[in-house]
């Protein structure tokens, strides 16, 4: 694409201004997702209620049935009802699904960039699943890693949409566009999940998934997601060059992951891909 107006510096300063004065259009967490999340965390929440709630949202209901029947959960017989699906997947997974549905919904759809957004969603799911495996490898609880991995790049679509809107009819160099997305997606994503009232550690770790010092006391989780992110990229093309780059990552030192630990992780690729396919 050829750039004329506005200039990249102008775009950047306008984007920074919008972020600073909270003028970004942040999508709301879909009502159904917040209610599913609340029910999953409710001490008295029962699976039957959850099934009924999901039924009200055809898109989420379809997603749930698809995932329950996917290779990741390998049902012996096809699952045909939501009640069966909820029983099969459990309350915690339902909470994850509600978040996944949000990632797959309006928050990551941009007209004219459907393919890019699809890639982004697949990468988000892959990062969630890989982050979960990194946590498991290090004997850390896996739930936090999955959720944060799933949401780590949620800011990309928002920055992209904002910059496209700012440019109005003018064309913008793709490199300029991606540069701005790379620079601001972590902090914008962090703001979004804060607005969704998700736990603070998720927003902190998202903010720090390229620079773990930004995650303060949640740097361990941010480091886990940073490696999950890298593994998701590796998984797309696991060639020798990518493999060597992966083994040289400084984040391995932070996480205390040695070559033999990494080998054990990489051996889980097939399983990870099966689960990713279900969530993406």
């Amino acid at each position: 694409m050829k750039s004329t107006l506005p200039g990249s510096a102008q775009l950047r300063s306008e984007l920074v201004r919008k972020i600073e004065v909270c003028e970004l259009e942040l999508p709301v967490l879909p009502d159904i997702a917040s209610r599913v999340l609340a029910l999953c965390q409710d001490q008295d929440g029962d699976p039957r209620q959850l099934g009924e709630l999901i039924q009200r949202d055809p898109a989420l209901a379809g997603n749930v049935l698809r995932i329950a029947n996917s290779a990741a959960y390998a049902p012996r017989e096809p699952i045909v009802s939501l009640q069966q699906a909820v029983s099969r997947l459990g309350m915690t997974t339902m909470g994850d699904l509600a978040i996944a549905a949000s990632v797959n919904g309006k928050s990551t759809s941009i007209k004219g960039r459907e393919k890019e957004m699809r890639v982004l969603r697949t990468h988000a799911a892959a990062t969630g699943v890989w982050s979960r495996e990194v946590a498991r490898q290090r004997r850390r609880n896996v739930e936090a890693a999955f959720l944060t991995g799933l949401l780590h790049d949620i800011g990309r679509a928002i920055v992209l949409r904002t910059v496209i809107d700012l440019a109005r009819d003018a064309t913008v160099e793709e490199s300029v566009l991606q540069g701005l997305v790379d620079e601001f997606h972590a902090s914008v994503g962090s703001r979004l999940v804060e607005r969704w009232k998700l736990p603070h550690w998720i927003s902190a770790a998202i903010d720090g998934h390229h620079d773990i010092t930004r995650a303060a006391e949640h740097s361990d989780l941010a480091a886990t997601v940073m490696l999950g992110d890298e593994l998701a990229h590796w998984s797309e093309s696991p060639d020798a060059e990518h493999d060597a780059a992966l083994r040289a990552l400084p984040i391995l030192g932070v996480l205390g992951i040695y070559p033999e630990d990494l080998d054990e992780l990489l051996a889980r690729r097939e399983l990870v891909e099966k689960t990713t396919k279900a969530f993406a």
């Binding site: 965390q41 409710d42 001490q43 699976p47 909820v86 029983s87 099969r88 997947l89 459990g90 309350m91 915690t92 997974t93 946590a135 498991r136 004997r139 850390r140 609880n141 896996v142 739930e143 936090a144 736990p199 550690w201 303060a216 006391e217 083994r247 040289a248 990552l249 391995l252 030192g253 932070v254 996480l255 205390g256 992951i257 040695y258 070559p259 033999e260």
Partner: protein, 471 residues
């Protein structure tokens, strides 16, 4: 890899309490010391996964339990499932960082070289170091100290997935409090977590093959622990083994027991002991092996079967306490340097950070009777102590175990808040050889829980007089 291995006077493997103190001790003697730590941060399990994180969570649980006790009508029965576990461990990072900084400063000040690597013996004096990116280097040491710590034991028939079936490391990174928890095991870690989560409103069941939890304690103390645990809503099932552990997404974790019972809970904690972290160390090349309990065998100075190699801390097995590990680290290096070591103390107190705390030093009543034929025992219940009433800690107990003449203190056992501090009075009395009258003849502050010593000592004196009267 370096063609000629770099040489050090001391190579210390592991940067937890034992390794850290060993390294500093060596450096203080002017020796060239290398400390090898596999993690990015020093401090070991104690700082990052064990003692400090669990005690931080415990503080919240104690606060909540106290609130419930003092204002039963106002406080809710649990903190609620929506509460994030991390929010109950606030200040953890700052506590960890402060402690880590202190440890690092000590290393820097004493010129200890620190490397993040994994180590493997190539020969008794040579160690290969592999860094996280696969870079290799070899080092040799006149003395090598193994202080690689321990990790939770993972029985092959228990599917620990760190999601629903957790170990003592992963349970601390759980997001939300579960509604119910099965604790498999009844040792220190199991008992501490069982009471912490119960105090936070989680329904907890402890299961173990032992008839009573904390089997090393005086039975009177562990019985009191169980009755308090059960009175507060927990359950202890002893004398059973797990037949199977399954993990179903909707029903949670199911544990089938050897007596035919089936337990079900949202989460399970597997705390069935710890095992030495020696994976990849290639102990065979150093002429060493682990014993039948999975630990490295050492003498009183930490010396292994290969004389210039020492092992200290959790890697040698119980007591596996941070304080005893530090002492072992210093002791091993002093021995290697040919310096005199103080006589190894046998009066190391044991502190169990359950709710309420438990502490013990010296012989139990059973051990004293076995060794001396008879023991004179004095008790002080905290409901006899003014401070116990003020604190709402009336169900505590202090038990003094004395020799058959009722004069020398052989052991002290305490259950109740403040127990881990209280026990030190008995420890010092035992080390100094003070007679039990010391607690009768001297005056303590009022009102304090330390008064329990005076009450227990008077009880001992009373029993002694009775024994004398009956001949």
């Amino acid at each position: 890899m370096n063609a000629v291995p770099e040489h050090f006077d001391f190579v210390v493997l592991g940067g937890g309490p034992a390794g850290h103190k060993a390294a500093v001790q060596g450096a203080k003697a002017g020796k060239r010391v290398l400390l090898v730590e596999r993690e990015a941060r020093i401090g070991g399990e104690c700082v990052h996964r064990g003692t400090i994180p669990s005690k931080t969570l415990r503080e919240s649980a104690v606060y909540f339990a106290g609130l419930r006790k003092r204002a039963a009508n106002l406080a809710p029965q649990g903190v609620g499932r929506q509460v994030l576990v991390t929010s109950l461990m606030q200040r953890l990072e700052s506590v960890e960082q402060a402690h880590e900084r202190y440890l690092e400063n000590q290393l820097v000040r004493n010129h200890v070289e620190l490397r993040q690597s994994r180590a493997a013996f190539v020969s008794p004096s040579e160690v290969e170091l592999v860094d996280v990116n696969g870079g290799k280097a070899r080092v040799t040491g006149d003395t090598i100290v193994i202080a690689t710590g321990s990790r939770p034991r993972a029985p092959s028939d228990v599917p620990i997935d760190h999601e629903r079936v957790l170990d003592s490391d992963s349970i601390l990174s759980m997001i939300y409090l579960p509604q119910s928890l099965i604790v498999m095991g009844a040792g220190v870690i199991a008992s501490e977590f069982a009471t912490i989560f119960q105090s936070l409103g989680v329904q907890v069941v402890m299961v173990d093959k032992g008839e009573r939890p904390l089997g090393f304690l005086d039975p009177e103390i562990s019985d009191r622990f169980v009755s308090r645990f059960e009175r507060d809503g927990g359950r202890y099932i002893g004398g059973v083994k797990h037949e199977s552990v399954t993990n179903d997404l909707i029903t949670g974790v199911t544990v089938k027991l050897s007596d035919g019972r089936t337990l079900n809970a949202e989460r399970a904690l597997v705390a069935l002991g710890r095992t030495a972290s020696v994976r990849g160390l290639n102990l065979g090349a150093a002429g060493l092996a682990v014993n039948d309990r999975g630990f490295i065998t050492v003498d009183v100075n930490g010396q292994t079967a290969t004389p210039h190699i020492y092992a200290v801390g959790d890697v040698v097995g119980p007591p596996a306490l941070a304080t005893s590990s530090m002492d072992q680290g210093r002791r091993a290096v002093r021995h290697a340097l040919g310096l005199e070591n103080h006589v190894a103390t046998t009066t190391i107190p044991v502190g169990v950070y359950t709710i309420p705390e438990i502490a013990s030093v010296g012989l139990t009543e059973t051990e004293a009777v076995k060794r001396h034929g008879r023991a004179v025992v004095g008790r002080a219940r905290f409901d006899e102590i003014a401070r116990g009433h003020i604190n709402g800690e009336t169900d505590g107990l202090l038990k003094l175990v004395c020799d058959p003449e009722g004069r020398q203190i052989l052991g002290a056992h305490v259950i109740g808040e403040g127990a881990t501090e209280l026990v030190h009075l008995a420890q010092i009395a035992m080390i100094a050889g003070l007679e039990v009258e010391t607690f009768v003849d001297n005056i303590f502050n009022f009102p304090t829980l330390a008064e329990a010593y005076r009450v227990a000592a008077l009880d001992v004196v009373g029993h002694r007089m009775h024994l004398r009267a009956v001949g």
